[in-house]
């Protein structure tokens, strides 16, 4: 499998230093994505899912010092320690990005056509007229109605769904091998969300692009991803195929999240199922399991030692002392 992996992240840690604090939002995370495959990274706000994807690309707020350790092999190239000019060639080139809020990610003062053409000029070395033609093709590819007119429009003239389509057109302008989509449908309505997910799946089939989709919506995960990584407090809690993780979740956090989804079997007026407590506030790395204070299955060791991510064949890998101890006992019996 390794040879077809377009992205291989191993033991990645991200440390952020601001003038006030030192944080580790990503701690020892490993995963891989094959060409043409979709990996969903699921987590709540503050779980580190966005930093995990954007810190290695140098997309962090100014005034924050980012320190990466571990390894990120993308298309045979090591991204950790890469210089800013080298990163700039990759960003928007071999790696396209889609952000959550298209209104703040698009340039309000440039026409849509120009913003798409810019990418083609920069990364594909096209002339401006070639790039404009490519922009038109791309707008057709993302199934935008009346593409000739859209080229000349500004972002504020477009609806939310059309803006997100424009953003996708920019992201795929340089034919990236990997597309990182950070909550691409969260700001959209549910009927528009269905259209955008359909579009991403269709583009992936045609261009064989790998997609890393950052989301907190299990429905979106089920509809597009092949594999899922569940993050909690900067670490992977569970990692496996979409069927394994969504249908037979093993980590207490994942099973709690999935059990909390309202179902048609719940009577109107019946209480909602949820998780007790609140997610931890980002800070120094914890010695134990970050989920322990909210966990229904917590045992002594959970607070003292961090559970490593482990799993057997045919099941998702989980970082949980209780689940993994149970599994090794079952294997010993068998």
């Amino acid at each position: 499998m390794t040879s077809t992996n377009i992205l291989q992240v191993s033991h990645l840690c991200v440390d952020l230093y601001t003038t006030r604090a030192a944080l580790r939002p990503v701690d020892d995370v490993s995963y891989e994505v094959a060409a043409g495959e979709t990996l969903a990274i699921v987590g709540e706000s503050g779980s580190g899912k966005t930093v995990l994807n954007f810190a290695p690309l140098g997309l962090m707020p100014t005034g924050v010092v980012t320190d990466l350790s571990g390894s990120i092999l993308f298309d045979g190239q090591q991204l950790v320690g890469l210089s800013e000019p080298a990163l700039r060639r990759i960003r928007g080139g071999k790696i396209g990005t889609i952000f959550q809020d298209p209104m703040s990610a698009l340039n309000p003062a440039l026409r849509i056509g120009r913003q798409i053409a810019e990418v083609a000029e920069l990364h594909l070395g096209m002339t401006s007229s070639q790039a404009e033609a490519r922009a038109l093709d791309l707008l057709k590819l993302v199934r935008m109605s009346d593409p000739e007119a859209r080229l000349r429009q500004y972002p504020h003239e477009l609806s939310g769904g059309l803006r997100q389509r424009a953003m996708i057109a920019i992201a795929i302008a340089a034919e990236p091998k990997l597309l990182i989509a950070d909550e691409p449908t969260t700001a959209l309505d549910v009927t528009v969300q269905a259209q955008i997910i359909g579009l991403l799946k269709d583009l992936q089939r045609r261009l064989n692009t790998a997609i890393v989709l950052i989301t907190h919506d299990m429905g979106v995960v089920a509809s597009i991803a092949a594999r899922v990584a569940v993050m909690y407090a900067g670490r992977l809690a569970e990692y496996g195929s979409v069927e394994e993780v969504l249908l037979t979740p093993r980590h207490p956090y994942t099973s709690g999240l999935i059990a909390a989804l309202p179902s048609v079997d719940d009577a109107p007026g019946s209480p909602f199922r949820g998780l007790p407590g609140t997610p931890p506030v980002l800070g120094a790395p914890l010695p134990g399991c970050a989920f322990a204070p909210r966990c229904p299955q917590v045992i002594d060791i959970c607070a003292r030692r961090y559970p490593p991510l482990a799993g057997g064949a045919g099941t998702a890998a989980v970082a949980c002392h209780v689940v993994n101890a149970r599994q090794s006992k079952e294997q010993a019996h068998a």
């Binding site: 609806s159 997910i197 919506d217 429905g219 089920a222 909390a260 007026g269 998780l275």
Partner: protein, 338 residues
């Protein structure tokens, strides 16, 4: 129908805004009528831009309606002025979507709540303290939080404070505008359960404005579906989800992805086109016709009448009766969308 006993009635309400285009108007709420019985939990769902928040804001007086009536206990609020209006309107309180923006950064939680208490005339310090204790207790927050500032609180805690503040004036109706959509998944259930408890213990009626259909189905007994300024369908929540009879409601329910990958692998998205049109220039006739898979010629010429499909189920669509006859329970479980 408990028409006589309705706590809140909104009749033919129209709220419009001046458009950026000179001389044009945006009719955000167009001839909307809804009702709320005492202690009832009612949902109002629709996509962004459909006017659901404007309707809520018009009810509490944050927007001035162009025409129509808002009746509380049978009294038309627009017939009242000054002190009388303020006192009557106090029975309706609003819970905003974003607890990061709705609380004053420079006031402690205690000060925020005290302000509400002073408005209803609780001036005695000791009485204020006791009431704040009760309020914080009702929303499940420790007493010590009264000394804290909003920035020290998590999103879930802030939303609880916002709820406590609206409860301080002993309202009979809460208008909750997307009260949990700014909160994390694992926290949502906690705040939703708080609403259910308050409803049970205090008998507060709630108008629950949300785009999250699964949430509304479980929390409310009746639901209104709004599209581009109009109510297109209303029914008991169980019936609405089991037998949606307006093409828009069907598309809305059909667009929610299931959390089951086996269901998703075989599911075709509903045939709904494009985005919600601009309310500056809504389509003629039925407003949904530009996105409707079943649109016919007649849809462009006449706005559809509101048809009664069952005693408590109405839909504004020319083929509503046919859709009702053929509707069947939703094919999959509803997950909690973003």
């Amino acid at each position: 129908m408990r028409e006589a006993g309705d706590l809140l009635r909104v009749e033919n309400l129209v709220t419009r805004f001046k458009s950026v285009e000179r001389g044009k108007w945006v009719t955000a709420v167009d001839d909307v009528s809804i009702r709320l019985a005492p202690g009832e939990m009612v949902g109002l769902v629709g996509e962004s831009g459909c006017g659901k928040s404007t309707l809520g804001r018009s009810i509490v007086g944050l927007e001035r309606p162009q025409s129509g009536r808002i009746l509380l206990d049978g009294v038309d609020l627009s017939s009242l002025r000054g002190r009388e209006l303020r006192e009557k309107r106090r029975a309706i309180q609003y819970v905003f979507q974003d607890p990061y923006a709705s609380l004053n950064d420079r006031q402690t939680i205690g000060e925020t709540l005290t302000e509400a208490l002073i408005i209803i005339g609780v001036k005695d310090r000791e009485a204020q303290r006791r009431r704040i204790h009760t309020l914080l207790d009702q929303v499940g927050l420790p007493d010590a939080l009264a000394e804290r500032y909003p920035r020290e609180l998590s999103g879930g805690q802030r939303q609880r404070v916002a709820i406590a503040r609206s409860l301080a004036v002993e309202p009979r109706v809460l208008i909750c505008d997307e009260p949990v959509s700014a909160l994390d998944l694992s926290i949502r259930a906690q705040v939703m359960n708080l609403f259910l408890t308050l409803h049970k213990d205090l008998g507060v009626a709630c108008l629950f404005i949300a785009h999250d259909l699964a949430l509304v189905r479980q929390a409310t007994s009746r639901t209104y579906v709004m599209y581009l300024g109009k109510i297109v369908e209303d029914a008991s929540s169980a019936e609405l989800y089991a037998r949606p009879s307006h093409p828009y409601t069907q598309a809305l329910l059909g667009s929610i992805p299931s959390a089951d990958p086996r269901v998703e692998a075989h599911r075709e998205p509903p045939p709904i086109f494009g985005d919600i049109p601009s309310p500056t220039n809504p389509p003629s006739g039925c407003r949904f016709r530009t996105r409707c898979p079943r649109a016919m010629e007649v849809c462009a010429s006449h706005p559809p009448a509101r048809l009664a499909l069952a005693p408590d189920h109405h839909a504004s669509c020319v083929i509503a009766a046919e859709l009702y006859a053929h509707s069947h329970p939703a094919p999959h479980r509803l997950p909690m969308p973003a």
